[in-house]
């Protein structure tokens, strides 16, 4: 095996040694594979049957019956709650005016969505806003749930068009009917083929304020996407709003910059956590994440896939329970990477939980 860890020579030589090291690692002796192709076929057939009889019916009915249904605002839609923050027991973020002290501030969101897309994942980073709506449970696990992702880019920035798909297939932009009078394109795999690999659809369009956005669907191959996605695009809302978060963070070390703010509803349901809010900051490749979940008595640090017997799990981070929340702070670079800023416990001391009821949450997060 190449000694890639010796760091001498040029960068290209280093990369070549790294490639060799990765190949050797992948080729190392391994336990026998547990892959079961027959089970994959059996499960795959079940999923296909379930889709044909379930999701297809629901989505088709909605698209065809749109005129009757009117604009169905998804549960938790920010525009529906721009009024002063009110009480409520739903575990969804509440939205209010931009305070300038809330990292979870968004400037676009879904309007209309098909019924059943009621659980959201918000991902806010300095260069991009991404919101994913999760479709109905299929009984086949989260990975196979229908997903509709809305990515919105900063003013003046167009979504990237990868020259080639990872399969070696070239991407094309195929012009389609304008959305609200603005140009729109499918991203497809042929000059006349507006469909991506495996039937996946990508629709890019301009939102009313002129920014570029792209819709991506996953696991909805059976739905009438050529009608559904333009309708979703046409109803994307743009206004700057802050999501109330369940904790505050004081005395944030000034050198740290926001890397991302996330709020997931439903993604961790199977693991016992109905929602999760997190802020990740970065300084010189050191990331630190503050995570809040409802305190369900489960340890969020417990890996849902337990380590193999004999494997070592490195203790890391710090957690506390406060007002019905389980609050944790940690760094993928390890506890020592946070030593200069008080370690995980020092960060955790700066975090104040506000409770599990969104009525108690705040948009005045950074203090």
């Amino acid at each position: 095996m190449t000694d890639f860890t010796h760091d001498h020579g040029t960068d290209n030589e280093y990369r070549a040694r790294l490639a060799s090291g990765l190949a050797a690692l992948a080729d190392a002796p391994a336990p026998a594979s547990r892959l079961d192709t027959a089970w994959a076929i059996h499960t795959g057939r079940s999923r296909l049957r379930r889709r044909r009889t379930g999701l297809l019916g629901a989505v088709t009915a909605v698209v065809l019956g749109a005129s009757l249904a009117g604009a169905v605002l998804p549960f938790g839609n920010p525009d529906a709650s721009t009024a002063p923050l009110t009480g409520g027991t739903s575990a969804l973020p509440r939205f209010g005016p931009d305070t300038g002290r809330d990292p979870m501030t968004i400037n676009a969101t879904f309007g209309w969505l098909p019924p059943g897309f009621e659980q959201y994942m918000y991902d806010v980073s300095p260069g991009k806003l991404s919101i994913t709506a999760l479709g109905p449970e299929t009984g086949a696990g989260d990975l196979l749930r229908g997903r509709i992702n809305l990515a919105v880019y900063p003013p003046g920035q167009e979504p990237p068009v990868p020259e080639m798909a990872s399969t070696g297939t070239k991407w094309y932009l195929i012009e389609t009917a304008p959305v609200n009078g603005h140009p729109a394109y499918w991203r497809g795999t042929g000059p006349d083929n507006p469909v991506g690999l495996g039937g996946q659809r990508f629709l890019r369009f301009r939102v009313p304020d002129g920014r570029w956005a792209e819709l991506t669907e996953s696991n909805l191959e059976s739905a009438p996407l050529e009608e559904m996605l333009p309708r979703i695009a046409a109803d994307v809302r743009t206004s700057r709003q802050a999501a109330a978060l369940p904790f505050t963070l004081r005395d944030l070390p000034s050198a740290y910059a926001l890397n991302s703010a996330n709020f997931d509803v439903g993604l961790e349901s199977a693991a016992g956590f109905p929602w999760m809010a997190s802020l990740t900051y970065v300084l010189d490749h050191t990331y630190v994440t503050v995570v809040a979940r409802p305190d369900t008595g489960r340890d969020p640090k417990q890996d849902p896939n337990p380590p193999q017997p004999g494997a070592e799990v490195t203790p890391s981070g710090a957690c506390k329970s406060q007002r019905g929340l389980r609050l944790c702070v940690g760094s993928p670079q390890g506890d020592d990477a946070l030593a200069a800023t008080g370690g995980p416990q020092g960060w955790l001391d700066r975090v104040t939980g506000l409770g599990a009821d969104p009525a108690d949450w705040t948009t005045d997060v950074i203090r």
Binding site: M1, A24, P29, A40, G141, L143, P160, P162, G198
Partner: protein, 189 residues
């Protein structure tokens, strides 16, 4: 009959390519048993879409993308996956030298410490030998983002391997030197 043919083609493809997918999965997740779970899920998803894939030019690339998305979807929780770092598995007895095992364990640990998307970028660029553009397509991000993730990943690997060298420095002949230069990801793929 068509279904039987489809299943036979699928089975043949999986038999031929699953070992490769398993290696990619292992580099992504660092655990052979989880790699098996990822591949199992990925090939199941592949089966669901199999009827639509007859015209795909590069089926391996598509399968790899399905595997990658399966892995990244699992990583959404920023806490679980980032903090529970696993040690090396017991390597079956073989002909690997002690130096090889040490270096493999070092790289295994260093990879495991990378954030998931950074690790995926490193694996796609330097194991799967994808270009920046191909990696961007697989990760559904910009080429600039790939360069940035790649640069950070390489830098973190160097730092991680370097720290370990310092900690484990010994008078033995194969003790490593401390790595050094800052990574400057080029603009070429």
């Amino acid at each position: 009959m068509a279904k039987q043919n489809r299943d036979a083609e699928f089975t043949e493809y999986v038999a031929a390519r699953a070992p490769w997918l398993r290696k990619v999965a292992y580099l992504l997740c660092g655990d052979w048993h989880r790699a098996d779970d990822l591949v199992q899920e990925a090939v199941t998803k592949l089966y669901v879409r199999w009827a639509r894939l007859s015209g795909v030019e590069n089926l391996d690339g598509y399968a790899r993308t399905v595997l990658l998305n399966t892995f990244l979807a699992e990583q959404r929780s920023p806490w679980w996956r980032w903090t529970a770092r696993r040690g090396p598995e017991t390597v079956p007895e073989g002909t690997v030298s002690a130096l090889d095992v040490d270096a493999s364990i070092d790289l295994h640990r260093a990879l495991a410490a990378l954030p998931p998307r950074q690790r995926a970028t490193v694996v796609l660029r330097y194991y799967c030998d994808l270009t920046v553009e191909q990696t961007a397509a697989a990760l559904d991000c910009s080429a600039g983002n790939v360069k940035s993730q790649s640069s950070r990943g390489l830098d973190a690997l160097r730092r991680s391997l370097g720290r370990r060298r310092v900690q484990e420095e010994s008078p033995e002949p194969h003790a490593f030197r401390i790595p050094v230069p800052a990574e400057t990801e080029g603009t070429t793929s």
